[in-house]
């Protein structure tokens, strides 16, 4: 009998609105432990909104979010960081005028994490030697790829059990896109649970095990990424293959 994959995150009927405009119309999906799950979809579908709602940055209008079976829907964002949910946001969102090292250290801001800040820092530097070389530099002076590494590094500093990545390859040169996805694959191989939002649909589906297709605030399709790669609708609408 095949083992049923254990779910770390369970989102049910999630609804979010900005003022009067409803953006998420009751979406449901789950994130399997120790695997990469992805959400793909066209611009404005609501992917970033979904991740922000899970991170607790946006108030939720309806539905529930469960982590390891426990509801976290009403918790403020720092309580979710405490439960080891990390968001690497769209557009990096670094502190441009702070050094690379201070940007990373802020990932360990919560008092419970501080005692391990330097241990985690050396781990991140092992993963991104380029950041170590530039640790005294202001984050705003890094190249786009290095900024993305810094943002991922900051996410890893908080010892996540769920790492959410929002369009990590946005605006990067093709060679860097490859490098970033290679890194995501490495992090995943170490057993990290990842929720990946990707613009680069081909890479995103290749690096992930499960995937969801989001269309104007609803989940249109979900299943193993391999199945989605060969799905007629996905091929036509997102990969441009007839």
């Amino acid at each position: 009998m095949p083992e049923v994959p254990e779910k770390l995150l369970l989102v049910e009927n999630l609804e979010v609105r900005y003022g009067a405009t409803q953006v998420l119309w009751g979406i449901s999906f789950s994130v399997v432990k120790h695997a990469v799950t992805c959400i793909i979809g066209s611009n404005g579908a609501g992917k970033t909104t979904t991740l922000n709602a899970i991170a607790g940055v946006l108030p939720v209008k309806g539905g529930s979010i469960r982590l390891d079976g426990k509801p976290i829907t009403a918790l403020p964002s720092r309580e979710r960081v405490k439960r080891h949910i990390a968001l690497v946001p769209e557009g990096r969102q670094l502190w441009a005028g702070m050094s690379v090292e201070d940007n990373l250290l802020m990932g360990c801001y919560l008092p419970a994490l501080r005692s391990r800040a330097h241990l985690n820092l050396s781990r991140v530097y092992d993963l991104f030697p380029r950041l170590k070389e530039r640790r005294r530099q202001l984050a705003g002076t890094l190249s786009g790829g290095e900024q993305q590494m810094c943002a991922i590094g900051r996410g890893l500093m908080s010892e996540p059990q769920l790492l959410m990545l929002d369009e990590p390859s946005l605006g990067l040169a093709p060679i860097l896109v490859e490098e970033i996805f290679g890194l995501i694959r490495d992090i995943a191989r170490q057993g990290m649970t990842i929720l990946l939002v990707g613009q680069n649909i081909h890479y995103t589906l290749q690096v992930s095990t499960y995937g969801y297709v989001m269309e104007v605030g609803k989940i249109a399709l979900g299943g193993p990424s391999e199945m989605l790669l060969n799905h007629e609708h996905v091929r036509r609408a997102y990969l441009g293959i007839a």
Partner: protein
């Protein structure tokens, strides 16, 4: 102008700059973290001056000790004001009318409490410090120098705190990118309260220092508000260094302005400068420099 006159003016500009920086830094960090234009800053400065005055009158405490004592006292006072009033303001990433009105109203309350207790006559702390250092033709007022050293030392300590402590990093993080601060778990409310305490501590401290140099009444502090605005616009919100830079420029222009403008118009200098800077560089000088490393 002789070389000696020039040096004397330069020295007084430098001493003035230290004081201005101490005045502006509290407003700067409060604005940076909470986007509140703290008009009550002038009221806190006034209270700081009277605090030092009363300690000197009743306990014969050295005014320098009084000024240092004002730091913890006004820190706690500021935290209380935040808890009582400021925390109820709606959170915003831009200055709001409600916050401006609240702080203006609170300033009026403080001012009137001042009139009630101390009346409207001028007071001064009269000490033996009114000497100058004997350096030949160059004059350095002792009191001014002592005040300058105290102000600069406290600014350096603040700079250290902002750069090396977790609290300081959370302040910088909230100033530079509040969204990013939230996703790593910074408690906006808690950091705001501490920041408001720190800003108030610096207001009280600056007032207490100025009481050693100038006479004061319950309206004390008002002329320094516009100066603080100019310094913030010139130096930006990023750092204590920016504030020091803005303070130095303002002090230099004001001091050397006396050579070209009748002394009675001196207060107009800072106001004129504010208008000019806002027209010419709407993002401030610091904004111009910052554009070099703007994030995409």
């Amino acid at each position: 102008m002789t070389a000696v006159e020039f040096i004397n003016l330069l020295i007084s500009a430098l001493l003035l700059a230290g004081l201005y920086a101490a005045v502006a830094v509290g407003m700067t960090i409060i604005y940076g973290v909470m986007k509140i234009v703290n008009l009550a800053h002038a009221g806190f400065m006034m209270l700081g001056a009277y605090f030092n005055y009363e300690l000197f009158e009743w306990l014969h405490l050295d005014p320098m000790a009084g000024a240092l004592l004002s730091l913890p006292v006004f820190f706690v006072f500021g935290m209380g004001v935040h808890w009582l009033l400021v925390r109820w303001l709606p959170k915003s990433d831009q200055p709001t009318l409600s916050s401006l009105l609240l702080m203006f109203g609170f300033w009026l309350v403080l001012q009137n409490v001042g009139y009630l207790i101390w009346g409207n006559s001028d007071r001064a702390i009269l000490t033996a410090h009114r000497r100058t250092l004997p350096l030949g033709p160059i004059t350095i007022p002792t009191a001014g120098l002592v005040v300058f050293i105290a102000a600069v030392t406290c600014l350096a300590v603040l700079q250290f705190i902002l750069h090396k402590s977790w609290f300081g990093r959370s302040v910088t993080a909230l100033i530079q990118n509040p969204y990013a601060a939230q996703i790593v778990g910074v408690d906006h409310q808690k950091t705001s309260q501490l920041t408001f305490g720190l800003g108030t501590a610096f207001a009280g401290f600056a007032g207490a220092l100025m009481a050693m140099l100038f006479s004061f009444n319950p309206d004390f502090g008002r002329p320094f508000l516009v100066r603080a605005f100019v310094i913030i616009v010139l130096g930006g919100l990023e750092s204590v260094t920016g504030v020091a830079f803005g303070a130095l420029i303002l002090a230099l222009i004001e001091t050397f302005g006396i050579l070209f403008i009748p002394a009675g118009y001196q207060p107009a200098i800072s106001f004129g400068l504010l208008v000019v800077v806002l027209l010419v560089f709407p993002t401030g000088i610091a904004g111009l420099l910052k554009r070099k490393w703007r994030l995409a």
